[in-house]
């Protein structure tokens, strides 16, 4: 058997793949956080809860309405996005003029409520969501066995991340968004409806979290707690990347996922703290984050 650094190649690549999958979710979630923070100056603590909500909406669609994975992939982001828009209109929009920490506290409370509701009705145990038929099974790549669904997650998340990056950096709406990030009052004076832009941005960020949730449903179990543990890691990712750039958030997400996968190969005990250790090191050498402008 081929060995690499004393580890069987199969195991090595397997963990790398797990790292890449995790990294896909880190990237999608930190991307959403960065977009929301860029314009709203709110750290969306509820991002993890919205990710969980996405997975649960998909699960409930399947169990109660027989709606399968592919339609859910479209319906879930819309549903989660709309809840985001409602939340922004009813509450977050009232908090823009005060210290941004209140936005963090509000979304923290929101996350507790969403999570509490799902825990109340579904308990803490996970519910399986089966892989769609089209992507069942796996492919033998010669050097390793790749479950098709996992390959799809990596491709889909890359497409989502790059698509979002393209929409923000290269389209007219994206240009408005970037302009409003720099100077909202001036953009408003030019006749752009900034409050609407804020609402849509929060909706988009929430929809991204929901989409990540439904993508994650067949990989991890659908459980009320799936978001809260993830969101803290994603915060660390965001600190490492700095929230200044969209591409930075994406790249950092994948990088840290891979770093985590590698750690699982060589020193499994440290695998769930390695991202925090990297965060601490980055804070020492480059406090603003790898891609960040100083906050």
């Amino acid at each position: 058997m081929t060995m690499i650094f004393g580890i069987p190649l199969q195991a090595f690549l397997g963990q790398l793949l797990v790292g890449l999958i995790n990294g896909s979710f880190y990237a999608m979630l930190s991307l959403g956080l960065a977009i929301i923070f860029g314009l709203l100056r709110v750290i969306n603590f509820a991002h993890g809860a919205q990710y969980m909500l996405g997975a649960f909406v998909g699960y409930l669609l399947l169990v109660h309405f027989g709606v399968g994975y592919w339609p859910a992939l479209l319906i879930v982001p819309i549903v989660v996005g709309i809840t985001g828009i409602i939340i922004e209109r009813l509450a977050l929009s009232k908090l823009y003029d005060i210290d941004p920490l209140y936005g963090l506290l509000f979304t923290f409370g929101l996350a507790l409520v969403i999570e509490g509701i799902f825990r109340y009705y579904f308990g803490v145990s996970g519910n399986p969501y089966s892989v769609p038929e089209l992507l069942a099974g796996g492919t033998n790549l010669g050097f390793m066995f790749l479950p098709n669904y996992r390959g799809w997650v990596v491709v889909a998340s890359l497409a989502v991340c790059l698509g979002t990056w393209f929409a923000i950096e290269k389209t007219k709406l994206g240009a408005y968004l970037r302009a409003a990030t720099e100077n909202p009052r001036l953009v408003q004076a030019f006749g752009v409806n900034v409050p609407l832009l804020l609402t849509l941005t929060y909706g988009l960020g929430s929809a991204l979290a929901g989409l990540a949730g439904i993508l994650a449903a067949p990989v991890y179990q659908v459980s009320p707690l799936m978001g809260s543990n993830l969101i803290i890691v994603v915060f660390a990712v965001v600190v490492v990347g700095g929230m200044g750039s969209i591409m930075g958030a994406i790249v950092t997400g994948y990088m840290l996922g891979l770093a985590e996968g590698l750690t699982k190969v060589f020193y499994p005990e440290a695998s769930n703290i390695v991202i925090f250790v990297i965060m601490a090191i980055v804070l020492l050498v480059r406090p603003a984050g790898l891609f960040g402008k100083d906050a």
Binding site: G109, L110, L112, G116, R119, Y120, F276, M279
Partner: protein, 325 residues
């Protein structure tokens, strides 16, 4: 984060009001164990001290830490281990807990103060989560089981803490000393510098204060006092578990402070009393505590940012309601 800028006269009036509340409070606390289940009262006192220690950082330095569970729960582990495994008397066990929490605070603070505002909150949260994972895996914490059956022991070899009244008054004394220490810190020249950092950090820097050092000092003090609360909890309940180091605990202490009134001396105490009371009453019902906690958070942030005591001050001191708030 403080929203009130009180004039001198109002500060004096607010101080008078505080003294009245404090006097009533102490009498009530002395009499409490005759009327209320002492364990419940002690739990309240622990969390009240924890919230006051947290408020030292949030209310008076303007730093929102999302990682204070690490100090509270960490100290509980240290004390429980020292008392149970090493067989040390409770006072030494508590001292070890406090020192341990202070060292943790020094390490976490060292990293966290490199960023401000929202990043500070995220960094403290991440570092505390790292400590949580450490506690899950480390041998001395007992993993999922925690440390059970911690003996309360004899305080200074004289007082048997297994008797409910003895331990209650011991906890009360420690609580009062802890709150007094916080009050002294806040009202010292050092505390004034902390407030100036809260109000305008750049100005404090330009005036020549090494803001980073002051922030770190405040962080360590807050961590040590939070540790004191955690150590007490380990002695009272005779166990230390992962619950106390989990991020939910960091959220709880924020809620207590926010609900009672950020930047007030008695606010966090009242907030802690209410939250613990609420948890107690919901424990027997079907309604999940997290939903209640989350709802209070949202309501506080949306319409009640000054908290109960903060609102009270605003009403009493400024009945016309012209405070720009």
């Amino acid at each position: 984060m403080a929203e009130m800028t009180l004039s001198d006269a109002r500060v004096k009036a607010s101080a008078r009001l505080e003294w009245v509340l404090i006097a009533i409070g102490i009498v009530a606390l002395l009499a409490a164990p005759f009327f209320i289940y002492p364990i419940f009262m002690m739990k309240m006192l622990c969390f009240a001290l924890f919230a006051c220690a947290f408020n030292l950082l949030l209310g008076y330095t303007g730093l929102l830490s999302f990682g204070h569970a690490a100090f509270f729960g960490g100290a509980a582990y240290f004390t429980a281990h020292a008392v149970k495994v090493w067989g040390l008397p409770p006072e030494i066990g508590i001292l070890i807990g406090v020192i341990g929490a202070a060292i943790l605070g020094l390490i976490m603070g060292f990293f966290a103060i490199r960023r401000q505002g929202i990043y500070f909150a995220m960094i403290t949260l991440a570092l505390a989560q790292m400590f949580f994972f450490f506690c899950v895996q480390a041998a001395f914490t007992g993993g999922e089981d925690g440390i059970q059956g911690v003996p309360r022991g004899m305080l200074f070899g004289l007082v048997d803490l297994h008797k409910e009244f003895n331990i209650y008054y011991f906890v009360l004394v420690v609580f009062l000393l802890g709150v007094f220490a916080i009050w002294r810190i806040v009202n010292s020249p050092f505390g004034m510098i902390l407030r100036s950092i809260r109000e305008n950090e750049n100005r404090a820097i330009s005036l020549g204060y090494s803001v980073a050092n002051y922030k770190l000092a405040a962080f360590v003090m807050s961590a040590a006092l939070s540790g004191l609360a955690g150590s007490l909890k380990a002695i009272i309940f005779q166990f230390a578990t992962l619950t106390d180091v989990a991020w939910q605990m960091s959220g709880e202490v924020i809620l207590m402070t926010l609900l009672g009134g950020i930047g007030t001396m008695v606010g966090p105490i009242i907030g802690a009393g209410l939250v613990v009371g609420l948890q107690n009453s919901l424990a027997t019902s079907d309604f999940p505590v997290t939903i209640a906690t989350g709802l209070i958070f949202m309501v506080c942030v949306l319409i009640f940012r000054r908290g109960i005591v903060g609102e009270l001050y605003a009403r009493v001191l400024n009945p016309s309601g012209s405070d720009k708030g």
